[in-house]
Amino acid sequence: MPGRILAIALNTFREAIRNRVLYLLLVFAAALILCAQAVSLMTVGSEDKIIKDFGLATIDIFGVLTSVLLGIGLVSREIERRTVYVLLAKPIHRAEFVLGKYFGLALTLLVNTAVMTAWFFGVLVAKGIADAGLARAIVLLFMQFLLITALAILFSCLSNPIVSCVLTLALYVVGHLLWSFDLLKARLTSVGARRLCTVLEAVLPDLSHFDVKGRAVHGLPVTACDMGFALGYLALYGTAVLLMACAAFQRREMQ
């Protein structure tokens, strides 16, 4: 089974790196990281913070866009083009197909993030402001991309690319706003509504675990405990989402 997943993953990776969208995103990301240097000249005070903020935000935005734009079409496009029938006619389990697609995109994201990080650190080293804490922040961002990819694949198994895109981006937004449920609960008088908020808070993805950009830029410690917790959360939540994606694809009717 791992061999079949690996074969699909490598094929997905090969397909993804032929996608022009990926290169367009990478070029934009590289340009933005370079632009940060020009923007930082307008500041009064430390230019370093602006260069680091711009770099991390660029990696975050373009990583998420790559996850969403490539992830939403992974399964649904195969069905649309009917290429999935060729694969499923072979002795391949549907779950293997979904997992192969996921790991293929994860590999693409790894390469994509590594390229952006190398470019970013190139700029930082040239300015003499490289910092290991920033690398930890990028590892956490990569974990976030993996979780978003899992969500994109789940929606891709359930719906068409446009709906998948909207739903994945909506969960990305909600995932960064979960802290506001506490504010909402404080204002709600109904016990039922407060319980619903608590349930939603637990069920929806909490992406704040992967966001330490501010801390890393300010030189505050990003501990092994933070990294371990985020990894554990990704393992639990990501696996749950992938299992749901596999279940959804297994039940999907192919015509």
Binding site: T43, I50, I61, L207, K213
Partner: protein, 288 residues
């Protein structure tokens, strides 16, 4: 259709029309921008929500949003054409930029500078710096800046000394802060504490220049403190005996003072028994 009858559409007029339309749009846009610039008012800032709401909208990009708003604020407050630009100054720096990224030091410093030097509102600057100190307790520059505002703008030296004391708790503090701290006590009317602080600097510094500066202060403060001590002792002596002491040594004999202080040159202070005044025989280094 024959080949002769078919004529390819001519592209030149279309391109010329497109260029013309683009030029017209560009000119209209530039005109509108110039009109906007001539009519710049502070009103748009009214609609800038507080950092709490912007933080929610930023979705994890609050630090970069703070950067962008800070860069914008520098350009905005450098524009002297906007006459009422200081109206929302505190809102921009205290409620928006530093709310989005409370650990970003530069907006506190630049905001405080604009508030004191341009808007002439030092108390507003101190409120901003207090917020910065609260969120960045390990940083020395913010309490130093607050102390400097108290010293240079408000001339509240006791308050300045308290801020410099906060700055001194930071292990990375610049050595000059100790000198500011020591001097503030003198200006606040507490020469004894000031002398103690300057003497501590003189004893501990390894920098010959700082040591020389500290000695100048120690010298003059010691004269001031000694003369005050002797005057107080004379006053107590007069209150107890109903007459002035004939010599300063009488103060020790009467138990009014434990021992007579020597002046910084090792000599005795001059005493005029007729007028009951004490003076230093030498001259003060700083001439104050």
């Amino acid at each position: 259709m024959s080949a002769a009858a078919y004529r390819r559409p001519r592209r030149l007029p279309l391109l010329a029309a497109a260029v013309g339309l683009l030029a017209a749009a560009g000119l209209a846009s530039a005109g509108a921008a110039a009109a906007r610039q001539a009519d710049e008012r502070v009103a748009p800032l009214l609609y800038l929500p507080t950092g709490r709401y912007l933080k929610a909208a930023a979705m994890g990009f609050d630090a970069i949003l703070a950067d962008v708003l800070y860069l914008w604020s520098i350009q905005y407050y450098s524009n002297y054409r906007i006459e009422d630009r200081y109206r929302y100054l505190e809102h921009i720096y205290r409620d928006v930029i530093t709310e989005l990224d409370p650990r970003y030091i530069d907006p506190y410093l630049v905001g405080a500078l604009i508030m004191t030097a341009e808007a002439r509102q030092p108390e507003m600057a101190l409120r901003l710096l207090d917020k910065g100190i609260e969120h960045n307790p390990a940083d020395w520059i913010l309490p130093f800046e607050a102390g400097y505002v108290c010293y240079n703008e408000i001339r509240d030296y006791a308050r300045a000394a308290r801020y410099f004391e906060i700055a001194l708790r930071s292990p990375d503090v610049h050595p000059a802060v100790r000198r500011f701290h020591a001097e503030m006590y003198n200006r606040a009317g507490d020469p004894r504490t000031s002398l103690r602080e300057w003497a501590s600097i003189w004893e501990t510094t390894g920098d010959p220049y700082v040591r020389a500066v500290a000695w100048n202060h120690v010298h003059d403060l010691r004269v001031e403190v000694d003369i005050t001590t002797l005057r107080e002792a004379i006053a107590r002596f007069v209150a107890a005996r109903g007459r002035r002491p004939a010599r300063l040594e009488d103060l020790v004999a009467a138990g009014t003072i434990d021992a007579l202080p020597a002046d910084p040159d090792g000599g005795a202070y001059a005493y005029d028994p007729a007028r009951g005044t004490v003076a230093y025989r030498g001259s003060r280094v700083l001439g104050r």
